[in-house]
Symmetry: C2
C-alpha cells in the first residue's frame, strides 16, 4: 500500500449552524483528511499533537480507520487545540468565536521513520513552518500537496511563501486565492500562484465547487447541490483527504488523473456536510461513495451528437 | 426553419464596470436573446416596443442577424426604455442607477400572425402580464420558457405566479429562486418552483454556472472561468437565447437535450461578458462557438477507468 503522510490539526470543535449546536466534538484538519483518505487503500499516518484531555476513544476511532497515529504526539499536561465557530444561512461565511492553540503553540512535528519514504505528503492547515518541518523530514516525496488559510497570509506570509515554493499542489479557497495573489479573477490568481511554485492549483469555492489549474489547462468539479448543508466544518479538509488519498493510491500525478482526484475530493466533501463534525464520514461505506460518484457523473456529463 | 417568438425589452443601456463606462448603447433582454438565438438555424421574431429615438441602424443590426422585427412596435413620439447600472469587482452584484420605462409603460404586445404558430416561445424579462399577453396569442406552443427578475416578485407577484403556472421552463437567478420559493437551499427552491407549474427550472448562478432541475434530476453547467469579465450585462438573456435557440432548432425537449441547451446557453453567455453590451455577440462566428464548446467539454468531462 502507498504511504501517505498527513499533517494538520487534531482538535476539539464546537459548532453552531442554523440546524443546531454541538458540544465539544472531534475535529481538526488532519482528522478530516485522514478519515477521508481512508476511503482509498492507502497507508496513512497522521503527524500532529493533542493534549492529555484527548480521549482514547478518539484515537481508537482513527486507528479503526486504519490510520497510523505513531506521529500523533500526546502532551500529557497540555490541552488539545480548540476551535469554535458559527455559521449563518450562507454557509460560505462563518464567524470564528474561539481559537485556543494550546499544545499547537509549541509543536515540533516528527514524521515516524517508516513513513519518511512516503510518496505523497498532504500538508493540512497549520503554521507554514510546521508544514516546512515535515517536508524536510521526507526522503523523496513524489507529490506534496499543501492546504492553508488566510490566517497564515495575515500572520506569516513570508514563511507561507517559502513553503508554497516547495510544493506541487496548493488547495486554497477563492477568497484566499485572491488575497494571496492580489488578483480578483481566479484564472489570473491561479496563474500568479503557479508562478510561486506549485505546478497545480486547486481553488475551492464551497457550494460552488472546485477549479483545478495546471499550465494553461482548467478543470471544474461542482459541489453536489444538497437540500440541506448541515455543517460545512471540515469540508475543505475532507476534499483534501479524498484528493490526496486517491492520488496516493493511484500514484499517477498527471493532469488527467488529478481531475478524477478533484471529483473524489468533491464526492467525499459532499458527505462531510450532511451531519455535524465527522459523524457522516466515519459511517461511510464503499457503496455510498460509489453511488455518489455516479451522481456526480449524472450531474456533469453530457453528450453532444 | 423552426419559429421562435422572443419577448422582452429592447433598450438603451449605460453601463459602468471596473473596466470603463459606455455611452447609451443598444441593450434589452429581447435584443440579447435574439442575437444569441441567431447562432442557431431558427426563424426568430422579436415582440417588443421602442421609441422614435431608436436608431434605424439598431433595427438593421437585428435584421442582419436574421431576426424578424415585424412585432417590434415603434412609438414615434415616445422614448425607448432606458437602464443604467454600475458593477463592482464582484460582478454578481450591481447597482441600478436609472430605470426609465418610457414606451414600455403602456406596451401591448402583438405577435405577428405568421409567428403565432411558433413551437417555442421565449418570454424575456418584462411585466408578467405582458408575458401572459403573448402566451394568449400563441396557437399551440410546444415549449414556453420564462425569464423574470426580483423586480416583478416585489411589485407584481400574483401576476407573476399566474404566468409561471403557464410555462414549461423558468430561468431565474439564485437569489430570485430563493425569494420566489422562500427556501434557501436551491434544491428545495427548485422543487417548490416546479410545484408552481414549470416542469423544468434553470437556476443561473452567474460566474458559478447554472443548474437545471427536472423532477428528481439535476444537471450542472459551469460558467467558463475567465481572466476578465468585462461587462456581465445581458449574460442571463444571452444564456436564455442560446438555451431557447438550441431547443427551437432541435425540437427535442427531453431532459437529456435540455442539458445540451444549458451548455449552449453557458457557451454563448461566456462570450457576452467579454466586451461591453452586444459588441462581442454581434461579431461571433460559428467557429468561435464550436471552439468554446470544446473548451466547455475539456472543463467538465472526465473519464474514470
Amino acid at each position: 500500500m502507498s504511504k501517505l503522510v498527513i499533517v494538520g490539526t487534531v482538535a476539539f470543535d464546537t459548532i453552531e449552524t442554523p440546524f443546531g449546536k454541538t458540544d465539544k466534538i472531534l475535529g481538526g484538519a488532519a482528522t478530516y483528511i485522514g478519515i477521508s483518505a481512508s476511503n482509498f487503500e492507502v497507508d496513512g499516518a497522521i503527524v500532529s499533537v493533542v493534549g492529555g484531555d484527548f480521549p482514547e476513544e478518539n484515537i481508537d476511532l482513527l486507528k479503526d480507520k486504519g490510520i497510523n497515529v505513531e506521529g500523533l504526539e500526546i502532551v500529557k499536561d497540555g490541552k488539545t487545540f480548540f476551535w469554535s465557530g458559527k455559521y449563518h444561512n450562507d454557509m460560505n461565511v462563518r464567524d470564528t468565536l474561539t481559537t485556543d492553540l494550546n499544545v499547537l503553540a509549541d509543536f515540533n512535528p516528527v514524521v515516524p521513520q517508516v513513513y519518511s519514504d512516503a510518496e505523497v505528503v498532504m500538508l493540512g492547515n497549520l503554521h507554514p513552518m510546521v508544514q516546512m518541518g515535515v517536508i524536510e523530514q521526507m526522503q523523496n516525496p513524489k507529490l506534496i500537496v499543501l492546504d492553508t488559510m488566510n490566517f497564515w497570509m495575515d500572520s506569516a506570509l513570508a514563511d507561507l511563501k517559502s513553503t508554497i515554493a516547495k510544493v506541487d499542489v496548493i488547495t486554497i479557497n477563492d477568497e484566499e486565492a485572491r488575497q494571496l495573489s492580489g488578483e480578483y479573477s481566479l484564472v489570473t490568481a491561479a496563474k500568479k500562484i503557479m508562478e510561486m511554485g506549485p505546478a497545480f492549483v486547486v481553488i475551492k469555492k464551497g457550494e460552488h465547487g472546485a477549479l483545478l489549474f495546471h499550465k494553461d489547462e482548467m478543470f471544474y468539479a461542482p459541489a453536489l447541490p444538497l437540500a440541506e448543508v448541515f455543517d460545512p466544518t471540515g469540508a475543505g479538509d475532507t476534499f483534501a483527504g479524498g484528493f490526496s488519498g486517491y492520488l496516493a493510491k493511484t500514484g499517477d500525478f498527471s493532469f488527467e488523473n488529478m481531475k478524477i482526484a478533484v471529483i473524489y475530493g468533491s464526492v467525499l466533501a459532499s458527505f462531510c456536510v450532511e451531519k455535524f463534525g465527522t459523524e457522516r464520514m466515519v459511517n461511510l461505506s464503499k457503496k455510498d461513495v460509489q453511488q455518489r460518484l455516479e451522481q456526480f457523473k449524472k450531474l456533469t456529463q453530457f453528450k453532444i451528437h
